[in-house]
Symmetry: C2
Subunit: 220 residues, 2 copies
């Protein structure tokens, strides 16, 4: 496996996190990395020649299978170091991320696999996120009914059980679809209705009947 620069690794990891909602755009990635859109375009051309991203001008980008594999390696390093810092060095959970941002770029495979063993093959980092194993396999968060989603926990809509025309009409009016990111702000036990907040929109209310038919996965 080739060796990638810190900068390349940061881009790959950021794309991995953003692409859960489909194609990643130049501005999104620039914001995520606190850099400029022009820099993103430059880097995308480079990552394309290295076959880590699919990219066509003006059409956004996604990781190739190779790119995804690399992303999972970096995430594995990051989360194992976070676990080490919290568990062994007694860092508090909110301090681990910044240090892990540096440690994650030390690329020795043996180091990471031995660290994993030393830590007892932990499955989750201090934030509850799953740690990919040595083969790059990562636990996919299982889907849960929107009714059962905890308050203020970011989630992504992944399935709708009732697909009748009436249901779809209601969903489209509420601007909810597969991939929509949302969280629950309030639960009203009187009628099981929920106040939910869609990403980058104001709050809205949906009935319990609707919520029962929506399934989500936890968002990272």
């Amino acid at each position: 496996m080739l060796n990638y620069s810190t900068s390349e690794e940061n881009y790959i990891k950021a794309i991995y996190h953003l692409q859960k909602e489909g194609t990643v755009t130049t501005n999104e990635l620039a914001a995520e990395l606190s850099t400029r859109p022009a820099s993103v375009t430059d880097m995308m051309k480079k990552l394309r020649t290295k076959k880590l991203v699919h990219y066509e001008a003006y059409k956004g980008f996604r990781l190739t299978p190779e790119g995804r594999k690399l992303a999972l390696i970096i995430i594995r390093r990051h989360r194992l170091w976070e676990f080490f810092l919290a568990e062994k060095l007694k860092f508090s959970w909110d301090e681990v991320h910044a240090v892990a941002e540096d440690l994650e770029h030390v690329s020795s495979k043996k180091l990471i696999d031995k660290l994993d063993e030393f830590l007892g093959f932990p499955r989750y980092d201090p934030h509850g996120d799953p740690i990919p194993d040595a083969n790059g396999k990562i636990e996919t968060s299982k889907q849960v009914c929107l009714i059962d989603l905890p308050l203020n926990k970011a989630a992504v809509v992944c399935y709708v059980s009732d697909q009748s025309t009436e249901m779809l009409e209601l969903l489209s009016h509420k601007k909810i679809g597969i991939g929509t990111r949302l969280e629950i702000k309030k639960k009203f036990s009187f009628d099981q209705s929920l106040e939910i907040k869609l990403r980058q929109q104001s709050a809205t209310t949906i009935s319990g009947d609707l919520a029962k038919n929506i399934f989500v996965k936890y968002d990272e």
Copy 2:
């Protein structure tokens, strides 16, 4: 404290190790870092403006007190990581150096101090080299009489007790002086004479009477 690049840190550390024998030259440093003399000159100008080295064109360089302080911070990181790798992750002693070369550039002070504590404040790395403490204090190898130096252990002449003309004449004939690097190849119990090898020269023999007056420190 400012933040230094990986490259700057590697230069500073290399100068620290080389300057035990006086002024460091451009070619020496280039060889040590597997780079070109022209690159060394460029970097020395830069480190001079940052007040980390004393440097005048054609006259070699040495660390300033600031530079030495930085060097000891980097060496502390390096050796603590080497200890961690050997002790906790069960790396063999010859594998630790390469990985520590990367880890040493992660610059969080808190990380290193907590790592030190986690490891139980080890005093020596897996190669037997002393680990600087959190204040940058490092154990200076104490001087020992040449008679007592173990076989094949590299050492540097640091003191000569008899400074008579006759003694100095003999020393200069043997090309031995303060800073000379040597090791003992054989000890003859019959007359306490020693076969010693001076760095980059062929072996020679000295009498026990001479050896008794020469004091050395272990070389790193």
